[in-house]
Subunit: 450 residues, 2 copies
């Protein structure tokens, strides 16, 4: 296998343009599949047609399953129907299902009807599973053996099945009813005697996941046990597929992107290829909701107009109070959201986290409160009580904002509500409202005593 570099890129492109089919075919097929994809992405439509004409649909399947969904859709239009059908036959079932599940049902059906029965059925079964479950991300290309086979027999079988299976490093042991009864790693197989039977060397306490298990939990199983793959079983214990470590890395990446989007109420608009109007359409509903909630802040200040009319200088510290409340709330939010992604929270953990954040809020509140009361007194000069108002308000706001930043995501998580509500912008907006109420209440009370 060869990897892509400037030298062979030039060579292959030249051979394609000169129509030296034998030359570029050899160079191209020698490339690592990921690099075949990388090179294919450099081609123009005309060069791509040369590829389709001179690669078998089996050879091209390897490339197609490495492309992004958007690219796959563009390529599919350029393919002749029988070639595409045969390509789907040769793809890993999970990759084929991923693509056919995303395009419109009619087109997908057109391909599924013409595909080989077995492949088509595998894919249709995968399409039945809900999104983001083990069933939706698993592949059906695994190596299954029975407990009575000998090591020698299995090694022989492996030589035949190795090219088709997604991984051969774990072999799954099934009984007559196709129920999963054990697993054996290729590592164990290699060190075993050739005449030993699988049942003598297999692990009988197999960790498996249910087809309906959430993909994030599947990822955690693989990560925690350092597995290269985990078997997937249905409710009867029948082996239906495996999830491999490379699929899990994609899942981890997707889940992180989702968390990032949620954290900032971007809602799936993290995709850089999206056009402005589409991105705006996704973000606008949340911003308009925030705008309406934000109008409450105008109402609060309006209701303290009497105080503000007498002491205009109070307005000067509004952004400082609301800004700092937002900042500290965002910090607590980040801690909780990341914590929830990394581990399960039990009651004890939740209580200790709330205590920790509350303690942190009090310390930070004291520090910032004292500092701002001194500075504001020095800056504004004439108002000794104003410094106290601003400092004390900031202390209260920081403590309360920390609690809001901690509690809101925990509540959202507990009740399975929309996580975007626990985003930075939402927390900041709520903290604005609470912060202003605290600030003006304290100011009105103290200034009326003067």
């Amino acid at each position: 296998m060869v990897y892509l570099n400037e030298h062979n890129i030039a060579k292959i492109l030249k051979a394609i343009d000169n129509n030296e089919i034998l030359i570029w075919r050899e160079l191209f097929l020698d490339l690592h599949p990921t690099d075949q994809v990388n090179l294919f992405e450099m081609l123009d439509p005309e060069q791509r047609q040369i590829i389709y004409k001179n690669l078998s649909s089996e050879e091209f399947a390897e490339i197609f399953q490495g492309l992004e969904f958007k690219e796959q859709k563009e390529v599919l239009i350029e393919l002749e129907h029988p070639y595409a059908v045969d390509m789907f036959n040769n793809m890993y079932s999970d990759d084929a299902a991923d693509f056919l599940g995303e395009i419109d049902d009619l087109t997908a059906k057109k391909f599924l009807e013409h595909m080989d029965d077995e492949e088509s059925q595998d894919i249709q079964e995968l399409l039945e599973y809900p999104d983001e479950t083990a069933g939706a991300i698993m592949t059906t290309e695994y190596v299954a053996v029975t407990a009575n086979e000998t090591v020698a027999e299995v090694l022989k079988k492996l030589r035949q099945e190795a090219p088709d299976a997604e991984t051969i490093y774990y072999l799954y042991v099934i009984d007559n009813e196709e129920k999963l009864v054990g697993v054996i790693s290729l590592r164990d197989l290699i060190v075993a005697n050739l005449d030993e039977r699988i049942k003598e060397i297999m692990n009988v306490n197999t960790i498996s996941v249910s087809v309906l298990k959430d993909q994030e939990e599947v990822a955690n199983v693989i990560k925690d046990y350092n597995f290269l793959a985990v078997p997937v079983v249905d409710s009867l214990g029948v082996l239906v597929g495996i999830v491999t470590v490379d699929d899990v890395m994609d899942v981890m990446e997707d889940e992180t992107t989702e968390d990032f989007g949620d954290m900032s109420a971007v809602r799936g608009a993290v995709d850089l290829d999206m056009i402005s109007s589409e991105a705006a359409k996704r973000r606008l509903p949340w911003l308009i909701l925030l705008l309406f909630i934000g109008m409450i802040t105008a109402g609060i200040i309006g209701s303290f107009e009497a105080t503000l009319g007498k002491f205009t200088i109070l307005a000067v510290f509004i952004p400082l109070i609301t800004g700092m409340g937002g900042n500290i709330g965002t910090q607590s939010l980040a801690v909780v959201v990341r914590g929830l992604a990394l581990e399960k929270f039990d009651r004890k953990r939740v209580i200790s986290l709330i205590k920790r954040e509350l303690g942190t809020g009090v310390i930070i509140g004291l520090g910032c409160g004292v500092l701002v009361s001194i500075i504001s007194q020095v800056v504004t000069g004439s108002h000794p009580v104003l410094g106290f108002i601003v400092g004390f308000s900031l202390f209260c706001v920081l403590v309360v904002s920390t609690l809001i930043g901690t509690l809101v995501p925990l509540i959202i998580h507990h009740f399975n509500l929309d996580p975007a509500v626990a985003s930075g912008p939402f927390i900041t907006t709520i903290n604005d409202i609470v912060g202003l109420t605290i600030y003006f209440t304290i100011a009105t009370m103290l200034l009326n005593y003067l």
Copy 2:
């Protein structure tokens, strides 16, 4: 191998308490290493002593390398020195180096001096590499073969080395000078004829990473090529270690946690086990810096005191203007930070991203600006021009804030500055300053024409 469940937990704990050594040893050692760790974490100090006394240091090494750093430190105090030394001898070199690199130098030296020469030297070499590089996360337990060996010879060798190597699924081919010349997967080995020589079936174009390569880039190589491991070479091309896919998953998780911390200026305080004072100590410097920058907002409003004195109602919309600027800035920030984590940005990509975000900002700005000018006019009633001031200001603020949220992280990334500066709180604070300046400038200009 057996996995942990309520049944065997109870059995093992009972056997430990009843001092039935043979019984719990068999049950315990039958557990998957990850579950040995899980069970060990349930024990009290007295039970732990029974473990140390009745497990060999080699058996306990497996558990120790699965513990968190904090737990490892607590356990080490409970171990006798010779037992601990021997345990380090039996750990994977990367795990041992991770731990010994974190504790104080004197203690680490005490162990390294008493360890086996070869192990000790391996670890000391690993400790030389800078944090977050391939060298710092690689292991030296790989299987190396030479090009002239036959498949049969290598398979025989594998049977001996399999228990010690971190992975046997890739074999690395080295020459007389220990330079990496090829790689062969166990998959290829299994399908090859027994009398073939390695040089006939190995891949000669091996992808390797340099010891000083950033760990995030190493993770990307493994992820992009769906590798189970990648070889690490020094500047002369000598094979010095491998990075395995499970290490890379830990790296991905750490990098995401880092991004989350940076995004909200939490600075490593995402760790839930940290006590309040420590968390406050890490967050406070950034908040105090933000407090000082935030004081600028007070100065800006103060400089428009004349306008504000005449039109107190302007104060009412301050939090709405600053809040919405912060929200939209946070959204753009999240898009850019996540985009930077997922792929390399070239000039073309950067320009198209800025255009996209600017377009999104204009659309959102128009929507929110028109909406708020209508609402504020309805609510405040008497001031027809006020609605226009608020709406037009909001439009300008949203467009500018989008640009700031997009450009600041790109600039930070380009100049390799401290990424915490591109955090939500920083962007929000900068947007507060810019937003207030826009709002009061527009208001002063328009109101003076009345």
